[in-house]
């Protein structure tokens, strides 16, 4: 893990703890939620998405 990623994750954990306090959520679960959002976005590469095309014979 590079230093930038590490500091981001630490920050996210702190943010999650604050959020957990606000909403009364278990800290572990809130941390998971925030880390998931960032990590998920990193792997959600738009180039992995297929193009939306109608079939060539659509509409008859």
């Amino acid at each position: 893990m590079d230093p930038v990623t590490g500091s981001i994750i630490i920050g996210l954990i702190q943010m999650a703890a604050q959020y957990a306090e606000k909403v009364g959520m278990a800290k572990e679960e809130a941390t998971k939620h925030f880390l998931n959002a960032y990590d998920l976005a990193k792997v959600n590469d738009p180039d992995k998405l297929p193009d939306a095309k109608l079939p060539e014979n659509a509409g008859g």
């Binding site: 930038v4 500091s7 981001i8 920050g11 996210l12 943010m15 909403v23 959520m25 679960e29 939620h33 925030f34 959002a37 960032y38 998920l40 976005a41 990193k42 959600n44 590469d45 738009p46 180039d47 998405l49 297929p50 193009d51 939306a52 095309k53 109608l54 079939p55 659509a58």
Partner: protein, 131 residues
């Protein structure tokens, strides 16, 4: 546990229905989290329009190698999906850059963070409102 799940489901539905836009002053962290949440929800929704192999979860392809849209997908929806994919490609690096900035205060050399923020907010709102 059930209450939390209900809250997350309601939030996801609100995001997908376009009920969530930025009209208030948010902290950088709040804004980054808003961007990440919308992006991830919209990305997941985009994938649901395609036929997947139940065993592998991979997209099924036609004879030309194109992913297959679910039967009955109207042409208007296809146009929306095409718009959204173009937005995904532009906004993705901006969101990741902004998320890093929100947490570390650092940006890649030559980056004007104000421009990144403004463009990312515009594009995320475009994702929500795409018609």
């Amino acid at each position: 546990m059930l209450k939390r799940k209900v809250i997350f489901v309601l939030l996801a539905v609100a995001l997908l229905m376009g009920c969530a836009t930025v009209n208030v002053q948010l902290t950088k962290q709040d804004l980054a989290d808003w961007m990440l949440s919308i992006y991830n929800a919209q990305y997941a929704d985009y994938k649901t329009w395609f036929v997947t192999d139940p065993a592998t979860g991979e997209f099924k392809l036609d004879a030309q190698g194109n992913a297959i849209l679910k039967p009955g997908t109207p042409p208007a929806q296809v146009a929306i999906l095409q718009k959204k994919k173009a937005i995904f490609k532009e906004v993705w690096p901006l969101i990741l850059t902004y998320a890093e900035y929100a947490k570390t205060g650092t940006v890649p050399a030559g980056t004007v963070i104000g421009e990144v923020e403004a463009r990312a907010v515009t594009l995320v709102n475009d994702l929500i409102r795409a018609k």
